[in-house]
Point group: D2
Chain length 295, copies 4
């Protein structure tokens, strides 16, 4: 297919490369052009604007950092909405609010364009290795039409529903579940520390108990307290937990555990941890237990 | 070895059977004798009291439901402490408070007896199938001496430390981590429900994301809301979370997530769920979101 | 002085009447004109738009329900900002976000207009009886110039600072303190109920202990569970707690008690209590304790 | 009347003195005898043991620091229970658990002695100045018989009910309400600090809003951060909040606000604040907001 791809951060670059590897023709755009140029060697065409990346595409992916960035790319002059052909699709993989997702669905529908929400789970290495989990939602036919694209970037695809914002909600709640695990690690590791029990021992037990690579990987980061460089910046984790809370609020669902994590992430930011890995949330529990943390 | 085994509930029966299978001679005692008789076919001797089960043993296991039951078995007339030979060991696998564990260590030491704390992770089926995780703590030599026993009942053994109560703390914190997962499921499933997203779809995504049998198993129970019969009764889960909080408090470690779960478990008990599976904690989040739950 | 007054709900009507009583000339505007007409008997002039109320005024008050309503009145066509004379003041008494307050300060400054934030504490009866607490913030000279107006509507004036949004923050935090009292009442009354202790007895003790009319008044509402008609609608209380949390978040201050109240207010809304008095927050604690509440 | 009084700390001394002033004959006992001697000048007789203070009394008051101290005085050899005449009363004013109160009621009943729970609200100065609030519970006739004693020590008496432990629950919940106010102050003052708003200004507004001496007094301590010497030690405040939570738990009532405060008090203790005034709870919110607190 003729595709566009906008947003070539660490996630987007891997995804775009896998689309190229699958034989699609991909026109890429990134605000800072070096990242787009880096994909030339893989066969990507370069566009000078989001509109240009979208113009001839059957589908244009977006993979951007937040609501603000995606709004710009979608709705600004030279944005996607102004250029995408009727019947062509905007496939949004960014982690955004359900509110923006609903707005995108409306606007694209008004333009006779298709809007599919297709967030992904996985770190940059997983994006590169074609091991993402893809969770599309939107028009059923459109999803079937574009399923080969999802297969090209991920190891598994789960269709969430027919309402695009539902996929965003699942993504936000998935990240909230990871954050919950981090808070549980934070509190238990602080307890271990003050009880004189080795962090590595506790990690071994918990890894064996849950048998989950997510527990093992994050647990190792927390046990070793290596929060830089960040795999996923704490300020982005905060954004996601905040969006999960706001989405749940719209549905009149309280998320008390979400609120607890949110408050702890704010405390982490008050201690200058915005750019550290979000697992550094663990330092909040340590500080509250009177354990010196160096921040 | 010549062993005693006291407490033949669903966990204890499986453990005792595996000790018999490994070729040890096991004298068993249970308050209601039918359960002890059931093990006769497997070759167990029956004792008329805890003391009798302990008298000739190199090591006597206890696997009881709470502090109260273990205190009785250990310290009452005809209890273990009165009968165990000097140098022989009380191996306690019950999930008890760190305070009782410290008291047991002191008393047995005063009697020249050995006390090893050896809690286990795993459901009754795992106990039967020799797939428990065993986490002993206590005197290093004693643990090495009895390691073949741990190997006989579990799939993996992690030595926590030299202080028996440390093992109890790791066990309590492990259960607290599972409870944290349950709370996270509770809040996200309530959100899914009100957003019109299928519970089974969300479970599939989260199972794929974490790749953990614990998430899959508990997530299935919550998704299907089959809380009876209980795999692990909510009132016992409450006991464990409460004990984790109390143990952390002794160390001046706040557990805000623990407190949140504790309050939700109390609410569950206020709605009559003491005997349901502890994953029915999820109903609290549902009720708070205004979802009718039938209780 | 020549004044404008926009927003004649139960609070605004009392305030406007007291400005008239103090001898000022007041031109009033309300979206639904009946409320403006009701003030004619008190000597008020009527305007056909916010701009008309502002045009000849030395100062125009606004007393509206939320950010959205005030933004419209301030910035829409025929809004205040388009009509107010250079040097004249917009005095905003609404309970709004600190973010909107900062935006108003900027825009009015760009128009050479003065912006003073002057939120008030007190129920409609206090507004009528000239018993409000007024907490202005903004340019020091402007506040002194308009001080007679604050004296005309309230029993006490406290100048918060020179930054208008600071007054909004104090107002939001004051309401958060009242909400905290409500949550404490909620949990203790639920406890009393299940302990078989009379609600009126507990209220008497607490009233004597705190010696505060706020405790007495709200405590009586909670004890008697008369949540309709609302003195202050729960959905508005939710708005204020949410705004307090957001304002604190901008400063990297976690408000865990605020988060707890927010979640309970969401649960109340999930049970249909939006329009009830915000003290009906107490029903959430009752429900969580398994007390039947009829909702 | 012939009275005994056991426990002459800062509260007990004032209470005993007011009983003497009202013309009663009072035999006093304190573990460290200097405090008992200090009351000789006021006409008190001195006893060598709790039993001696109770032997000839129509009623013996106890005012001790916690469950442990009161259990000793009541049940140890030479304790009250061994000496009090049939029909005479033990009037317990200590802040103790509802569980101990129930146990005292049972034991005294078994001895044909009367047990009245009569906790008090008020600081040491209020005890000295006869301004306590007294909240007795127990047998109705007994309370009427001893009412002149309550009048002699307090400014107001509220009869809670016929079950002694109900009075202890009201006392614990009253202290929990004060702690809730402290937490609300803690979070709002931290917000003010980071917003550059004067602490004294916020205090003035809140004092005017609530019109409560309790808000004014505690608010002043928090605003000025003068946490030593303690009016009420944080570790005792922690004890009371913990007991409130445990009493509520017995009734299956969750106290999420209580849990939040409890966790913050634990964090305060982890930072060495056990002996500071319990209003130093406010430092926890400050630290979580990244405000340097010197601890």
């Amino acid at each position: 297919m003729n595709l566009g791809f906008i947003g070539l951060g660490r996630m987007g670059s891997g995804m775009a490369r896998n689309l190229l590897r699958a034989g699609h023709r991909v026109t890429v755009y990134n605000r800072s052009p070096e990242k787009a140029q880096a994909l030339s060697g893989d066969g990507a065409q370069q566009a000078g604007s989001p509109a240009e990346a979208a113009r001839d595409a059957e589908a244009v992916f977006t993979m951007l950092s937040d609501d603000h960035a995606l709004s710009e790319v979608a709705f600004a002059q030279n944005g996607i909405a102004s250029a995408l052909k009727p019947g062509a699709a905007h496939i949004s993989s960014s982690t955004i609010s359900t509110a923006l997702s609903r707005r995108l669905a409306e606007q694209h529908a008004a333009n006779k364009q298709v809007y599919v929400s297709a967030p992904v789970f996985g770190r940059p290495e997983a994006a590169e290795a074609k091991k993402l989990i893809v969770i599309p939602a939107g028009d059923r036919d459109a999803i079937e039409r574009y399923r080969p694209l999802f297969d090209a970037i991920g190891r598994a695809t789960f269709v969430v529903g027919t309402e695009p914002s539902q996929a965003n909600l699942v993504k936000l709640c998935g990240n909230f579940m990871i954050a919950s695990m981090l808070e549980a690690f934070a509190e238990t590791f602080a307890t271990m520390e003050k009880a004189g029990i080795k962090r590595s021992l506790f990690l071994d037990v918990i890894s064996e108990l849950f048998g989950s690579p997510v527990y093992k990987n994050y647990g190792t980061v927390v046990a070793e307290q290596k929060f830089e460089p960040a795999g996923f910046a704490l300020k982005l984790g905060f954004k996601d937990v905040r969006l999960a809370i706001e989405a749940a609020q719209e549905l009149n669902v309280p998320l008390p555990l979400g609120s607890l994590i949110r408050d702890h992430l704010i405390s982490a930011m008050a201690h200058g941890q915005e750019e550290w890995d979000w697992s550094s949330l663990a330092l909040v529990a340590s500080r509250n237990a009177g354990i010196a943390t160096g921040t």
